[in-house]
């Protein structure tokens, strides 16, 4: 259970950040940081168990039928990552307090950040791959929000879009890969998957699975060829870059590879795909980083390069390489986060990130400079710092593999070259920024940052040093437990020492150092060579690709759908015919065995009305008002037939819906042409006529055949159980509020969404208002006839009483919340018609939005109420209570649900009708005014 609290706490922290925003930045960060701090404490409480190699689990059944559980686990690897995510997250929160200026929405920033943190801990703690994937997607979404935090800047929006597109596409590939894996293994449970190495690797789809999962990991971790989104994501505020693009999000891909290491690694395909990608990324990133004049650009490419290094290590597939990879994850997170923060400080206090202007800053900010220098030395792999240790391990591992056969020697050579470039750009970061002359024309005079802005950097740099000098004492156990989790078995023999004796890896290190210095001080030569290549702007390339894709899909859509209703309906009906005709031909006789019901004159009259009016609607469809009236006749007859065939509930519903519909259409009709011209060519008319005659015949035949045959339906079950299980005798209502209550809940939600959508759509609309009717006769002068006002006013109390009555008896007799809601709406709308908007608005103080949302809330709370008694969602409860003088009455929780339906129906229908009606009045601008207030 404790594990479940970790994502829950960070998630609540994001809400806390929003609510404490008004208290100011310091209070906001202090309160919202409590939540991840508690989460971190929960994780740290398990330290002993994790170091004793226990695996802590928490599982709650969620959708067992789909193999979905809410399931969390804590082993060495997730322990390590959780600590990185939460601890660095806390440091970044402190840092961002000083980084963001007072006028920026700090609450929103922290809310996004904590939501992102939730997603990250979700990934690392998940014990179900689908759940992990869910959190994975959540990181893409939240990182989109974070990168575009300065949403007034176009580069931030572009960078965010690109990151979302690339990582989102990778997420889809990952989902496909995980689904395949789940199918092969037969479970989405991580425990099961991790124990199915043979099964997965021997399955036919192993290669596809591997590629799909790797695409997911590579896109997230900015590996070649997907790395270009990372530099563009640098448009984010620096705390975001420090958090997402050094310690967490980009490490999610690495985490995935490490998580899947026990099952996917160890094959030829894994080695080739992962190590070659890693090596390419390592080299390209290190090379490009040297040429970036932007501080954050340099760090971004350096991150790309270091991620490549970790990927390469994982790709080598040996046990020791995996240990080195885990070690480098820790080291890279510490030094890169501190470097990003230092870059942010420099940017913040000097106003520029351009290394061509930033020179000689050591004089102005000596402490920050020293910290940054130590961190970049760690990045370069200088002895006594943590970066050196993992780099030595990396060199050792590159020397000990032989998978490329006779050209295996190339890997250590390339690794040394990459390391040399890494030394070169680290040197540039130090020498160019802090020394090398005096500052260019900077917007501000550089100075030291506020005291506490530097604290996170100091903490991280101190860690770099301590880990670098006393590796075994500080991270030994953490590394061991995480490595065991990655390897899924025993730990290979290794020891963390600074001095391993004079050996080949040390020679490589020395070569890299010397080479790096040589490259840096002769960088002008390289700059000149690089200038020969036209600089590529990935953003433009990406935009063009997106545009091409969009054009192609539009072309495809236009080919299929011309936007003509006639055409769409024709194809729909044509297909329906194609599928229904053959089975109907197989039927021997149309009529079944059931006897015909006796025919009486009323039915003949009703059927005549129905047929004549339906046909007349088609014939007179050009005259819209006339066809509307004809449709009302059809609706009336249908309602009577419902009553006649023992469906009083349906009759009541149909009647009230008819009234609301006609009002709605009349409201819309005012703004529309009264007559429609006939556009169809004779050929089209023939086509449409024949298809509709055919489909009419088929539907008629089908109905007749169905109704003349005996049918066993589910109705018997409801008749038998409505009273017993739902506590009501009106089966229709019991089905609505109890048996299928979840459906009803969904439907009222959709209704509410539709109402809000319509409201939003017409909120500021101004439409042409005709001044005369279709025959050119001007409108009548009397807006609100007196008689009409009086009669309508009298209708209101009557209708309210009836709706109350219909509502209350609904559980046992025809009626219920839906019908009652419609009756109330009609009664209110009648007042609008009779008295006009201006008269009514001050008199009816109903906010329809509030009504609608409280209705939904009531329905939801009634549904959730069942949880208190350990019952499923929307399980209804009922009992009989004896009230003096009134007698025994039945109380059912379904009543509360029905009340929710009632309020939602009133709110939604009134929101649509009153706002559509208000379009012609002075009230149409109301939403704007309300916002202004």
């Amino acid at each position: 259970m404790a594990l479940f609290w970790v994502p829950l706490l960070t998630c609540s922290g994001s809400l806390a950040a929003l609510f404490t925003q008004r208290l100011g930045r310091s209070a906001c960060v202090a309160i919202s940081a409590l939540f991840p701090a508690m989460a971190l404490a929960i994780i740290l409480m398990h330290t002993k168990q994790v170091f004793d190699l226990e695996q802590i689990r928490f599982t709650a059944s969620w959708i067992p039928a789909l193999g979905l559980d809410l399931s969390f686990r804590l082993d060495g690897l997730s322990f390590l990552f959780a600590i990185l995510i939460l601890a660095i997250g806390l440091l970044v929160m402190l840092y961002a307090r000083y980084y963001l200026s007072a006028h920026e929405a700090a609450g929103r920033f922290y809310a996004y950040l904590l939501l992102f943190m939730t997603a990250m801990v979700g990934i690392v703690l998940s014990n179900n791959v689908l759940q992990m994937w869910f959190f994975w997607e959540l990181t893409s979404l939240t990182s989109f929000l974070l990168i575009s935090f300065w949403n007034h800047r176009s580069d931030a929006r572009k960078g965010a879009r690109m990151a979302l597109a690339i990582t989102g596409a990778g997420g889809l590939a990952l989902l496909a890969g995980l689904l395949l894996m789940g199918q092969v293994v037969g479970s989405y449970d991580l425990d099961v998957i991790l124990n199915s190495r043979e099964l997965i690797q021997s399955s036919e789809s192993y290669l596809i699975m591997l590629i799909l999962v790797l695409i997911g990991a590579f896109t997230k971790s900015a590996q070649f060829p997907f790395f270009f989104w990372l530099p563009h994501a640098m448009a984010a505020p620096t705390p975001v870059s420090a958090y997402l693009h050094s310690a967490t999000m980009v490490k999610a891909g690495i985490f995935l590879m490490a998580r899947m290491f026990p099952v996917l690694a160890g094959t030829e395909a894994w080695f080739l795909l992962v190590s070659v990608t890693g090596l390419l990324t390592l080299l390209i990133g290190a090379y490009v980083a040297l040429f970036k004049h932007d501080l954050k650009g340099l760090l971004a490419y350096s991150t790309v390069s270091h991620l490549g290094l970790i990927t390469l290590l994982l790709g080598l597939g040996t046990d020791l390489a995996a240990v080195a990879a885990v070690f480098h994850i820790i080291n890279h997170a510490t030094f890169k986060a501190s470097l990003f923060m230092a870059a942010g400080i420099i940017d913040h206090e000097s106003g520029s990130r351009d290394m061509r202007k930033l020179n000689g800053l050591f004089k102005y900010m000596p402490i920050t400079a020293t910290l940054a220098m130590v961190a970049s030395a760690a990045m370069a792999g200088v002895p006594l710092l943590n970066g050196f240790l993992s780099k030595e391990m990396f060199f050792t591992e590159t020397l000990q593999q032989s998978t490329l056969g006779s050209i295996s020697w190339m890997i250590p050579v390339f690794a040394t070259i990459g390391a040399a470039f890494s030394v070169a750009y680290s040197l540039r970061f130090i020498h160019d920024v802090f020394f090398n002359g005096t500052p260019g024309d900077l917007p501000k005079t550089p100075h030291e940052p506020p005291r506490y802005m530097r604290v996170p950097v100091e903490v991280l740099v101190a860690l770099c040093l301590i880990v670098g000098i006393f590796p075994e004492a500080t991270v030994g156990k953490l590394l061991a437990s995480a490595s065991i989790a990655v390897l899924g078995g025993d730990l290979p023999y290794y020891h963390l020492h600074i001095w391993h004796g004079f050996n080949l890896p040390l020679v490589m290190s020395i070569l890299a150092m010397a080479g790096g210095a040589a490259i840096y001080f002769n960088r002008h030569v390289l700059f000149r060579i690089q200038a020969n290549f036209a600089e590529k702007n990935e953003s433009v390339i990406f935009d063009n690709a997106v545009k091409k894709l969009r054009d192609a899909s539009r072309w495809l859509m236009d080919g299929i759908d011309t936007g003509a209703t006639q055409r769409s309906v024709f194809w729909l009906l044509f297909l329906a015919l194609a599928f229904t005709l053959p089975p109907l031909m197989g039927l021997n006789s149309t009529a079944g065995l059931r006897p015909q019901l006796p025919l009486d004159p009323v039915m003949i009259a009703g059927a005549t009305l129905l047929c004549v009016c339906s046909v007349a609607t088609v014939i007179w469809h050009n005259n819209r008002l006339l066809s509307l009236l004809l449709l009302s006749v059809v609706g009336l007859i249908v309602s009577i037939s419902f009553a006649l065939f023992s469906a009083p509930d349906l009759a009541l519903t149909q009647l009230s819906v008819e009234v609301v519909t006609i009002i709605l259409l009349l409201l819309a009709l005012y703004f529309l042409p009264q007559y429609v011209r006939n556009h169809s060519s004779p050929g089209l008319i023939v086509r449409d006529l024949s298809v509709s005659v055919l489909i009419g015949g088929v539907v008629g035949t089908l109905t007749y055949a169905m109704m003349t045959r005996p049918l066993d339906s589910i109705a018997e079950f409801y008749t038998a159980n409505a009273k017993l299980l739902g506590g009501g005798t009106n089966i229709v209502n019991v089905i609505l509020v109890d048996f299928r209550g979840f459906d009803t809940f969904g439907e009222i939600t959709v209704l509410a969404i539709a109402a809000i959508g319509i409201y939003k759509l017409i909120a500021r609309m101004r439409l042409f208002q005709p001044s005369a009717n279709i025959e050119g006769i001007p409108w009548a002068k009397d807006k609100h006839p007196f008689m009409f006002e009086i009669i309508s006013q009298a209708l209101l109390p009557l209708a309210l009483m009836v709706s109350c009555y219909i509502f209350l008896r609904g559980h046992n007799l025809p009626g219920g919340g839906f019908i009652a809601g419609l009756i109330t709406s009609v009664a209110i709308i009648q007042q609008y018609i009779a008295h006009g908007n201006d008269w009514l608005v001050p008199r009816i103080k109903l906010n329809y939005l509030t009504l609608l949302s409280s209705g939904l809330l009531i329905a939801f709370i009634t549904g959730v109420g069942g949880f208190i008694w350990q019952q499923p969602f929307l399980k209804s409860w009922h009992d009989y209570v004896d009230i003096p003088f009134i007698g025994e009455i039945e109380l059912a929780s379904a009543m509360g649900f029905d009340l929710g339906v009632y309020l939602t129906v009133i709110g939604s229908s009134m929101m649509i009708l009153a706002n559509l009606g208000g379009l012609t009045t002075a009230d149409r601008l109301r939403p704007q005014n309300r916002e202004a207030k």
Partner: protein, 89 residues
Amino acid sequence: MLSYAAIFVSTLIGFSLLLNLWRFIKGPHMLDRIIALDTMYINAIALIILLGIFLETTLYYEGALLIAMLGFVSTSAVCKFILRGDIIE
């Protein structure tokens, strides 16, 4: 006895519904059609009440009540539309 009366009256009302339909289709003015529709609503009330009498149940009463109460609303809305175009102003 009552059921015979119910059958007889409902036959008459069915016939009057057909006459309503005739007026509706023939017109000539929109006003004729609106009145025809309104009369159809009235006849529908009668039909539903008669059904209740015939089946000896009160279950359908609310249906008739609803038409009596709300049929007026749609008729008046259409009239307002003819008169002013804009039904809520």
